[in-house]
């Protein structure tokens, strides 16, 4: 792994938020799913959205990136109001998105999948760097995207947004359905990305995993933020969290 990738960069504690979500409402067709979600993510922070199935975590991510049918409220990225923007312009603010189910394109090869998202900001990883990060992808560059294993697909989904120069990453359940060893590898990658200065908003069901990467946990229930727990306090709040999550 290149040295540059590993260089430590401290997070300024009181920096202005990179992503700010305020009173966000969202709909799927006629059904009102988000009822005023609000939280901030500071530059260099890793924040997870925790919550039960159907609480509105994925919807929150979709609302931020702008692919939800109808949304209202405020989403600012680097101080720019994005609520009325089409998603392609939100992406151009430097936001990278890894959707639920990874969104690998079956009709594209691995290499094509990897190079598909256009550069939105300067300073993205090169293809070489990505292949160094995920060597499996290089080996299978010519095969159909969806022929990869689940773990490889997840690496592909993360790898392809690292190329774009986006510094704010929205990851939707990157560990879902993966073997523990792969989950561990994803965890290492995320920690590495954090040290690289990436800001990450993560949707997770698995708070044990979230604990290994996140700075803060935002708990969502029925389309609202009901609690925010710093990672350091997680163990202390374990009982409360288990109630939230129903585990």
């Amino acid at each position: 792994m290149p040295e540059a990738l590993l260089a430590e960069r401290p997070v300024p504690a009181s920096a202005a938020p990179l992503l700010s979500v305020d009173d966000l409402e969202g709909w799927y067709g006629e059904s009102h799913v988000l009822h005023g979600v609000g939280f901030d993510v500071k530059p260099g922070e890793v924040v997870t959205l925790l919550g039960r199935n159907g609480a509105g975590k994925t919807t929150t991510l979709r609302a931020i990136i702008g692919i939800l049918g109808r949304r209202r409220g405020s989403v600012t990225v680097k101080g720019v109001e994005a609520i009325a923007m089409p998603s392609r312009l939100i992406a151009r603010l430097g936001v990278g998105y890894v959707p639920e189910e990874r969104g690998i394109f079956a009709s594209l090869t691995v290499a094509e999948n990897l190079t598909l998202p256009p550069q939105v900001k300067p300073g993205g990883l090169t293809l070489k760097q990505i292949y160094e990060l995920f060597p499996n992808l290089e080996e299978r560059a010519g095969s159909q995207g969806t022929k990869l294993s689940g773990g490889e697909q997840q690496m592909l989904a993360i790898g392809r947004i690292l190329r774009t120069g986006a510094k704010l990453l929205l990851l939707d359940e990157p560990t879902e359905g993966l073997a523990p060893v792969i989950v561990e590898q994803i965890g290492r990658t995320l920690r590495m990305l954090k040290t690289e200065g990436f800001t990450i908003l993560l949707v997770e069901q698995n708070f044990r995993f979230a604990q290994t990467v996140a700075d803060r946990h935002v708990v969502i229930e029925q389309g609202r933020v009901i609690d925010t727990i710093p990672n350091a306090d997680l163990d202390a709040n374990l009982g409360k969290l288990k109630t939230y999550l129903g585990v």
Binding site: H32, G54, A55
Partner: protein, 330 residues
């Protein structure tokens, strides 16, 4: 889409509550009576043959709408049932000397039978594939009509005798025929209304809105679909057979795919999934064809513009729009 809160979404399409539907039923009864009254007065203001044509096409559109609006099945081949029934009735009346009511019954039966065969094949597929199968089968029916000697090719079956209803009432008088067509039309409309509001109709709507769920509730979706298909084809046949008596002819136009397109237009203009929409749609379309005929080559252009405008601005159709406005199903 694990994350979608599904709780609040689903019940949106459940039929209105008791009070509202009683309200709507009263309104519908009033419209029926109004319609019947209108049909009594109309021939004094408008040309009866034109009105009969409107009724035949309205019935055709109602039949089509039963399938599309309530069954959720878009057929691109409804001309087949309409046209074949028209041929059957015309042939029976002209060559075998059937009385009008028997010839029309035969036509209806032919439409239904064809619908049974085509429907059984088509309902095995969904969405656009369903539509394409109906189109393909209708093209074959067209080919059959073109080849079969009894249809008279492009000349059609001409000079069909209007005959005597039940061997008693002479239909060659436009007024007598008008009354007969009006009764057939209102009767069929009432029948369709009953079907839509019967448990069968409710089941259909459930299947239309969410087939997997309806199946999980124990409905045999494919049987319902086939049944509504056959009903729709039979009614289309009734319309086609009646038309053969109004114009005393049956021609290839009635089985051609553009006729299948026309009925889609009528339903769309009027408002699909509404009971009275197809009537308005048929009225508008037939009026355009008849009265724009003087504009010569502009007919198709104006029709095209109506299509485009409807799709862009009035997707619910004229009646759908009114229904939305008065907040009652029509």
């Amino acid at each position: 889409m694990v994350d979608i809160a599904s709780g609040s979404a689903a019940p949106a399409r459940i039929p209105a509550t008791g009070g509202a539907s009683r309200d709507a039923a009263a309104l519908h009864r009033a419209i029926f009576i109004g319609l019947a009254a209108l049909l009594v007065v109309a021939p004094f203001a408008l040309y009866p043959v034109f009105l009969m044509k409107v009724m035949c096409f309205a019935l055709f559109a109602v039949a089509f709408n039963l399938l599309l609006g309530y069954g959720g099945l878009l057929s691109f081949g409804h001309a087949a049932y309409f046209g074949m029934a028209s041929y059957a009735a015309a042939y029976a009346a002209k060559v075998w000397g059937f009385t009008p009511e028997l010839a029309i019954l035969l036509g209806t039966f032919v439409g239904g039978l064809l619908g049974l065969v085509f429907g059984a094949l088509a309902i095995r597929r969904q969405g656009i594939y369903f539509s394409m199968i109906t189109l393909a089968l209708a093209q074959m029916a067209f080919f059959f009509c073109l080849q079969a000697p009894f249809t008279g090719g492009e000349d059609g079956i001409q000079g069909v005798p209007r005959g005597k209803l039940f061997g008693l009432i002479d239909l060659s008088d436009d007024r007598a025929l008008y009354v007969f067509v009006a009764i057939v039309f209102l009767g069929a409309l009432a029948l369709v209304y009953r079907i839509i509001h019967s448990p069968f109709g409710q089941a259909l709507k459930a299947i239309r809105d969410n087939e997997p769920r309806a199946i999980s509730l124990g409905y045999r979706a494919s049987q319902y679909k086939l049944a509504v298909f056959v009903l729709s084809a039979s009614l289309a046949g009734l319309a086609g057979a009646t038309k053969a008596f109004v114009f005393q002819l049956a021609t290839l136009t009635d089985v051609h795919w553009s006729m299948s397109g026309e009925v889609v237009l009528m339903t769309l203009v009027g408002g699909m999934g509404t009971i009275f929409g197809p009537l308005v749609g048929a009225l508008v379309t037939v009026t355009m064809q008849n009265y724009l005929a003087q504009f010569g080559a502009w007919v198709t252009i104006i029709q095209g513009v109506v299509f485009v405008v409807c799709v862009l601005l009035f997707r619910q159709g004229v009646v759908g729009l009114i229904a939305k406005f008065i907040r009652k199903p029509l």
